[in-house]
């Protein structure tokens, strides 16, 4: 619908959800189609509802699960996932009570649909193009892969959405992020997003909604697009979006909560109008070339401190901005790394494959494909944590768990696990990890722990060799 007023994907979704337009005095009132809830950022919101005698306005547009503080330790003989932390147990009980009292469907721990909140939404077909989706979790940006406007909110806003299904929002700016060309073998969606964040910096997307476009994005699977959108927030952008196309529709079709029959045809016809119109203007635009990308790895203490795995750690003395120099100095001290050092060959203690960034079935297939027939190095502990019970069941149906276990990796229950280290899965002080998760902040994976963010392929190659390894070398040997 390239009419007189060409619009971006974001602008179309935004306009469709305005209950009350932005004025001089007040932000826009934005309607929320789907509200995802988890145990960590919701209890205080339910408390507020009780204090004010409010109901949840639309339990039918709300879905809860448990993922952050849940153990991922294997089930006991009775099929129960044991919870040893009394605070976590209490928090999970509060979640159950809140969902029960307010009539919200809950995918409880131990049931077959439980999982990381950003894995289960798409998996069940709740996440659809053109929707507004929020959750008290910054990685809600994941759902933007479907052409939804999806972003993280705080607990006060969780209460707003529970009570009114609306949010007060000032309209963000738009940034086009175009990735031209084609990825070489061994380079993945994770490497694309780490390269983008290394380019724009950890605050470069602040105030913007990103739209990822270009040949390399079109060629990604839905799960690859989710990996890219997931880390939009690591560049400071609350939301990242990809225009829906046949890849999107094929992924959604047939999922439990996807539209059916005539409703499906009608939905797809509407979704085909969502992509950004010819001539629509973005506030900012950046371009990367996929042909030039290599496996990426972070060396510092935020996701913007990333580089090609074949590069060397930057030298603070070569930075002109004094604040950046201080930040890099501090990061290298924490990581105990030297300027100009290569990370290739650096011993690691733990390899973590999981998190809302890289725990879907395609991630596990990719990891299993590379580790098949190999052993995890004796010096390394490797955890493989599927993103949901459905992913776990699918992986087990395909025998992937046997491949991981034969290699000496731990095969776990679904959850956020070592990405946020709230559930007992954590690094010891001083340990190094290669992790497929999304944050390498100080202490993120356990107090004093040190994180190198990378793709599942780099994680596997590193686990097998016991040191940071370029996955392309291992893949070439496999092909030979």
């Amino acid at each position: 619908m390239a009419g007189n007023n060409p619009q971006t994907l974001f602008e179309k979704v935004w306009a469709k959800h305005i209950v009350r337009p932005q004025t001089e005095e007040t932000p826009a009132v934005l309607y929320i189609d789907l509200h995802l809830v988890h145990e960590v950022t919701s209890p205080q919101a339910f408390t507020l509802l009780r204090e004010r005698g409010l109901k949840v306005r639309r339990p039918d547009r709300t879905l809860a699960t448990m993922d952050h503080s849940t153990p991922t330790t294997p089930r006991n003989a009775d099929g129960i996932i044991p919870i040893t932390d009394p605070m976590a147990a209490a928090q999970l009980d509060v979640m159950r009570k809140n969902c029960n009292d307010f009539g919200i469907p809950l995918y409880d721990l131990g049931t077959d649909k439980q999982g990381i909140v950003h894995v289960i939404g798409p998996e069940q077909g709740f996440t659809q193009p053109g929707m507004t989706i929020v959750c008290g979790d910054s990685h809600t940006s994941t759902h933007g892969a479907f052409g939804a406007l999806a972003f993280g909110i705080g607990t006060s806003e969780v209460a707003h959405v529970l009570a009114t299904q609306c949010l007060l929002q000032n309209k963000p700016k738009t940034m086009a992020v175009r990735i031209d060309g084609r990825l070489h073998p061994g380079i993945t969606a994770k490497d694309i997003i780490l390269a983008i964040i290394a380019k724009i910096g950890v605050g470069g997307g602040t105030g913007y909604v990103l739209e990822y476009m270009g040949e390399a994005i079109r060629n990604l699977s839905m799960e690859g697009r989710m990996t890219v959108c997931n880390m939009s927030i690591e560049g400071g952008a609350r939301a990242g979006m990809v225009a829906p196309d046949d890849t999107t529709f094929n992924y959604i079709a047939g999922r439990p909560y996807a539209p059916k029959d005539a409703d499906w045809d009608k939905a797809v016809a509407g979704w085909r109008n969502l992509p950004t119109d010819e001539g629509a203007v973005f506030d900012h635009e950046i371009v990367l070339n996929a042909d030039e990308l290599t496996p990426m790895i972070t060396y510092g203490t935020n996701p913007g401190m990333g580089m090609s795995i074949t590069s060397r750690v930057p030298d603070p003395d070569k930075l002109s901005d004094p604040n950046e120099k201080i930040a890099l100095d501090k990061a290298l001290r924490y990581m105990d790394l030297q300027p100009n050092q290569s990370l290739l060959g650096k011993p690691v203690d733990v390899v973590f494959v999981g998190s809302c960034t890289n725990s879907r079935i395609s991630d596990l297939r990719e990891a299993a494909g590379l580790i098949r027939g190999h052993k995890v190095a004796d010096s390394v502990r490797m955890l493989v944590v599927p993103g949901s019970q459905q992913v776990k069941a699918q992986a087990e149906a395909e025998g992937l768990h046997e491949i991981f276990k034969a290699a000496g990796a731990e095969w776990r229950e679904a959850g956020c696990s070592m990405c946020i280290a709230m559930n007992g899965d954590q690094l010891a002080p001083g340990q190094y990890a290669v992790s497929t998760s999304n944050r390498n902040f100080e202490g993120r994976q356990g107090k004093g722990g040190r994180t190198f963010l990378a793709s599942p392929l780099t994680a596997v190659a590193t686990a097998v060799n016991g040191v940071v390894t370029d996955p392309r070398a291992m893949m070439e040997r496999e092909m030979a």
Partner: protein, 202 residues
């Protein structure tokens, strides 16, 4: 929420760029189900040794900085997760304002809903404020929300931006939920015109 109008408070500088919410309050403190008492967890990993004793070289532990109400952070303060526990911890530790060149979007929104003013200043003013706070720990700043100014010890006023709705809510001690509740009719009208896309209970 208590209205915020004008206050004068001691100032402390933590001039590190990209202070993320995992530093402001590490995730292991997020297993609580209320907001109270998080002030002691503020900057926990920077503030305490493994045995729980305070690290004497960390600025917030130094005697001259006790009672500070204004925190000057580096650029891009509050990046990372959406945890509202971050402003709860800052408010719990006695802070009423944070000053930076810019804030992460989610943190800024969360701060404004908890009576914590995120004050944006230009890079030059930011540098001056850090120098002042570092040279003289007794430096006090006056923050006046009504006129959107901070007043430096030499009397120089510096304007700061704030969206008019947040300003109204903070000055009057009202929260945004009440405003949204007042729109019930408009919300119902929107719902009647826009059929549900998904039904999570069906």
């Amino acid at each position: 929420m208590e209205p915020i109008k004008k206050f004068t408070g001691k100032t402390v500088a933590l001039p590190i760029n990209d202070i993320d919410t995992d530093q402001i309050i590490p995730a292991r403190y997020l297993k609580v189900t209320d907001k109270a008492g998080l002030g002691t967890a503020l900057f926990s990993d920077w503030r305490y040794n493994a045995d729980g004793s305070p690290k004497p070289d960390f600025v917030l532990n130094q005697p001259e900085h006790q009672g500070a109400q204004v925190l000057i952070g580096g650029n891009n303060f509050g990046c990372g997760s959406s945890r509202e526990h971050a402003p709860w911890a800052l408010v719990g530790a006695g802070f009423q304002a944070v000053i930076s060149t810019y804030f992460a979007d989610i943190f800024k929104g969360n701060a404004l809903k908890n009576g914590l003013l995120p004050i944006v200043v230009d890079a030059e003013t930011h540098r001056q404020l850090i120098s002042l706070a570092e040279e003289d720990p007794s430096t006090q700043l006056t923050v006046d929300l009504q006129s959107q100014t901070i007043t430096l010890p030499d009397g120089r006023p510096v304007m700061f931006p704030i969206d008019s709705f947040s300003k109204y809510c903070l000055l009057n001690g009202v929260d945004q939920l009440g405003f949204l509740q007042g729109l019930d009719g408009q919300i119902a009208e929107f719902e009647s015109e826009n059929a549900a896309r998904v039904n999570t209970v069906g």
